[in-house]
Symmetry: C2
């Protein structure tokens, strides 16, 4: 993908490099004060001799576009804009830094970037391996989808009526009785959290969640100015919540089935305790239930299934089971809540892809989805067993873990607090990408969220070997 000089051009390689750098500056890709890559890096990228790069850079320095700073590299000169274009570009960096939304944590930005690189072994990825995705079956099903003109126009605020009707039937199997007007189609579970954050809570509201938490690795609530409060799922929960709940509004976020990142499954009693306590304190519950279909054994009922007070906002999705590329999830909630969230969704993206909604409706209503899930669970179980065997053979001395009950993850605890950013970067240096525990709980230096769902068996083996080696240092 990266640009290289064209050997057949009428321009010399040096001229092409000079032009390429000028274009970077013109487009605003390199802003004033940017440190440009080293000669060595550029030579590698361009596949040319360092001396050619040096000549090009010298030319640009002579023109006043670049300047060397002793010992620290070559930078875009302060007046490069005046020289090049007699103009000033907007100071994008300043725009970005002073704007509203928080940037992702650096480790997570790195993870997002590295997940695009083919040579990286991804030991933490919360996504099905390409080989587990029913790509060919979906491709095949596209041939059988018939579209109606109305369906591919702007969607109704709550999403496709057809899909919402089908979801009502489908949710019955999870013990949830609902109606199309109580469902909102969203572009994945994360968007649901985003809409709830800006649509149902006043600034400064309390969001209770368990530690470690998925909500520390994304931050829909933090970006909207909410206070995140960690609680534990023990017998003191009720008293704690009672004490912690201030006059401000509050909300309880939980993943009771195949918790991310720990894989824990709440008992029915724990679910009922939480529900009763939140009902008493009038704290709405978000039940994030995106993993339940990946349980190896049958699960206890969803909290939503015994919600008789419109207390639970239930979130489902096909991203973990069918294809994340569909970007389709749903919220089940009382209709004033659904109408509110739909109104905001209309204001931000005018609804989710009609085509994705058609595909999901097709897969659920024709039974393709359920058939796929049966096979998928088997494959995931085989992968879990494979990884657990490696762990038992090699990691017994340095770590503990629980046998997987389903989903994607094994939450490994190292005896020593070795899982820090240095380990993360050292592993990355060896092309192994992990999801360290500290992105789910900042003080945690003991855990790794190991995913058996993404990497190939070979990669899992190789990656775990490298992890083992670096863990010992």
């Amino acid at each position: 993908m990266k640009w290289k000089p064209n050997r057949h051009s009428h321009l010399t390689v040096q001229e092409q490099i000079v032009d390429w750098i000028k274009t970077r500056i013109e487009r605003g890709d390199w802003t004033v004060g940017t440190k440009i890559p080293t000669q060595r890096q550029l030579a590698t990228q361009f596949n040319v001799n360092r001396s050619t790069v040096q000549l090009a850079l010298d030319e640009l320095k002579a023109n006043g576009l670049l300047e060397s700073k002793m010992g620290s590299g070559v930078f875009l000169a302060n007046n490069s804009w005046n020289v090049l274009l007699n103009s000033a570009q907007p100071n994008w960096q300043q725009h970005i830094e002073s704007s509203i939304h928080k940037p992702n944590y650096h480790t997570i930005q790195l993870i997002n970037q590295c997940e695009q690189m083919d040579h990286i072994i991804r030991l933490g990825t919360g996504e099905l391996s390409p080989e587990l995705l029913p790509t060919k079956q979906i491709e095949q099903s596209l041939k059988n989808i018939s579209l109606e003109s109305k369906a591919i126009g702007y969607s109704s605020p709550q999403g496709s009526e057809k899909l919402r009707g089908i979801l009502c039937e489908y949710l019955k199997k999870r013990g949830i009785q609902t109606a199309p007007e109580n469902i909102l189609i969203v572009s994945g579970a994360l968007q649901a959290l985003q809409l709830i954050a800006i649509g149902l809570l006043e600034e400064g509201s309390s969001v209770f969640h368990e530690q470690p938490s998925y909500l520390n690795s994304v931050h829909p609530f933090q970006s909207a100015g909410m206070r995140m409060i960690s609680v534990s799922r023990d017998s003191h929960l009720t008293n704690n919540l009672r004490a912690l709940k201030r006059k401000r509004q509050a909300l309880f976020y939980c993943v009771p089935t195949l918790h991310n990142p720990t894989g824990y499954n709440w008992s029915l009693e724990e679910k009922k305790n939480l529900y009763n306590m939140c009902k008493e304190l009038q704290i709405p519950i978000i039940e994030d239930d995106v993993y339940h279909e990946l349980l190896f054994e049958s699960s206890s009922p969803a909290i939503k299934s015994f919600d008789t007070s419109g207390q639970v906002l239930y979130i489902g999705s096909v991203s973990k089971t069918l294809s994340p590329g569909l970007r389709i999830g749903w919220v089940v909630a009382p209709s004033p809540v659904i109408e509110r969230l739909a109104d905001i969704k209309m204001q931000t993206d005018y609804g989710s892809s009609a085509f994705s909604q058609e595909i999901v409706a097709h897969w659920i209503s024709f039974g393709l989805y359920e058939k796929h899930l049966i096979k998928l669970r088997e494959q995931l179980k085989r992968r879990a067993t494979y990884v657990e065997e490696i762990l038992e053979q090699k990691f017994q001395q340095i770590a503990t873990w629980k046998k997987s009950e389903g989903g994607f993850y094994i939450w490994i605890r190292f005896h020593e607090p070795i899982v820090n950013k240095a380990l993360f970067l050292n592993l990355l240096n060896q092309n192994v990408l992990i999801n360290p525990g500290y992105i789910y709980k900042s003080s945690d230096l003991h855990h790794i969220r190991l995913s058996f769902a993404y990497a190939s068996l070979e990669e899992l083996k190789e990656g775990l070997n490298i992890l083992l080696e670096l863990s010992r240092h």
Copy 2:
């Protein structure tokens, strides 16, 4: 879609109605203090006698679930929850009212709702008529799409590499030279505005725009706390901007080609003036260019085509041309901006539908898109001519307008200030939905944004007749 009692049930109709109302309360659809629909409305909905409804309501009142308030109707009783469930539900209304994001304007919420009703004649809708959408051709093309597993996983932060590559070629025809790393795929142009609002501006920044403005009918910037400042496109623009630009950051939003709602096309000189002035003042420009392919005659170059300073954030989309249901648009900008917006998009919805991206890539790269556009422009021109003939025959005495140069809209100005909310509601009462000028400029009671793109020719004729009649009162 609305529930009706089942005549074949083992329950009496009255019992079914009682159960249905209890379910409304349990699900939280009707909250404490809600005024329930009148007996007449319920009888119509259920298709039963009023007396049956009355008996059901009496039963619920006797149980303490409902209460009558003299002269104002039947309400959910304060203690209905205690009676029904011995519980208290969250006060959703309070949650909604104190939360962060603003609700849509009431007229716009009504428009969103009524656009879902089949019997309504939509005279203002900014959307292609179902008969103009290439539904069957898209359905056919689905059979020829081959998917790769990698493509239907989580997308790279900037969106499909394949689509971005294809867009680079496509944008050349618009005079825009760019590279895949300068493109972000978004779920429609509105999402682009949303991302820019929270990702590039500090709170309280100035957003300059022309009046009337699309930005008054949606409010991505207002919701993020920006100051909206109206400016006009005249010779004093430079002086005005210089005076208005404070120390805070600023941004200029424009739709220079087929402006929404007026249909105006900026001259090349106007574009260059704006560009030079914004460059001097370091004010970034958003060029919203979603309509340009619908011009009946060729257009002057996009502002982005002569942007040599990374000043212009260019927005395109297929929503107005191919299918809004795809939810695919793009932003072209300097790479620090693109990376920033991509980072926020990852935090809010993890990218746009991979399937929609595949479809757009297929349509552009195989030339289906361009072929479709040629036909579409012809059809729109025929519709414009049809509507203009009606206007000339019937509206000459009471209104003025300019001949359409393309797109969807004719911006009609009535001599008298009659376009108020009463006219909007009176028309709606006769099943005619308009987009009144006041949603684009709150003080405007003269204009209607008439769309010749959505309603059928028959409906356009009928709707215009009703409009004519009510305009005369």
